[in-house]
Subunit: 128 residues, 2 copies
Amino acid sequence: MEDKKYTIANLAEEFQITARTLRFYEDKGLLKPERIGQNRCYSEADRVRLSWILRGKRVGFSLAEVGEMISLYDVGDGRKTQRVVTLEKCQERIKVLKSQRDDIDLTIRELEEFCIQLEALEAEEKVS
Amino acid sequence: MEDKKYTIANLAEEFQITARTLRFYEDKGLLKPERIGQNRCYSEADRVRLSWILRGKRVGFSLAEVGEMISLYDVGDGRKTQRVVTLEKCQERIKVLKSQRDDIDLTIRELEEFCIQLEALEAEEKVS
DNA sequence: ATTCTAGTTGACGTTAACGTAAACGTTAAC
DNA sequence: GTTAACGTTTACGTTAACGTCAACTAGAAT
C-alpha cells in the first residue's frame, strides 16, 4: 500500500514552495498533517490535497475558495441534505471554472491574433 | 464614427466596479482617460482596455501582469527589435494561459467526476 | 561536549488591491 | 441661495498571502 510519508522539506522541495507556506496552509486549516512528536509528517493524502491547493491557486482562486472546494470532498459522506448542498456548490464551482476557461480562450485568441499581425510586420520588413 | 465618451460612473456601473477602482487603475498607469477640466472622460479605447484588465483579473493575473499584457499592444509599432521582444513576450503569455486552461480543465473534470459520485449516492438512497 | 541540521512557534514586516473617510470644487434643481 | 448629485485629491485602513527574523528544541555526527 501507498503509505509514504513526507517531511515538510520534502513537500516544499517537490512543489517549489517554502516550509513557511506549508505551515501557513495548516494555520488556515487547509492541511492537517500528523505529528511525530513535534514534527509534521505528511501523508500521501496530504500531498494530494496540497496539489489541489496549488492548482486552485494557479487558476486564480483564493485560499478561502480553495478551502471550500476541498471541503466539498470531506462532506461527501454526511447526511443527505448535506450532500445535496455539496452537490450544488460543486456545480456552481464548475460553472465559474467554465466561464473562466472561456475568458482564457478569448484572451488566447486575441493574443494569437496580435502575434500574427506582428509577424506580418516582420515579413513586410524583409521584403522592403 | 464611434467616439462615445463615458463618465467614471458610467464605466463603474457598466462593469460593476467602483469609481475608486478606476482611479486606482489610473494611478497604476493602466488607464489614461482624457480630462475635461478636472473630470475624467473615458473613450471607447479606454473602455476596451478596461475590459481587458478585468478579464485578465478574472483569470488570475495581477494588475502588474495585466499591465504588461496591455503594454504589448502599445509597443507593437516601435522599432523592429522592440517588436521582436513583444512577440516573444506575447508567445510566453500564451503558453502560461494554455497551461492555466489545462489546470482548469483538470479541475473541472475532477469536480464533475465527484458530482457523478454524489448523484449515484442519491439514486441509491431512492432505491433503498 | 559541541556543532550541525532539520524542525518548531511566535511575532512583526510587506505587497497588492482596493475600501473608506475627509475636505473640497462644479453644475443643476428647487 | 442652498441643497443635492457628481466629481476631485489626499491619506490612512484593511485583507490576503506569505516573507523574515528570533529564539528555541531535538536528534545525528564529529
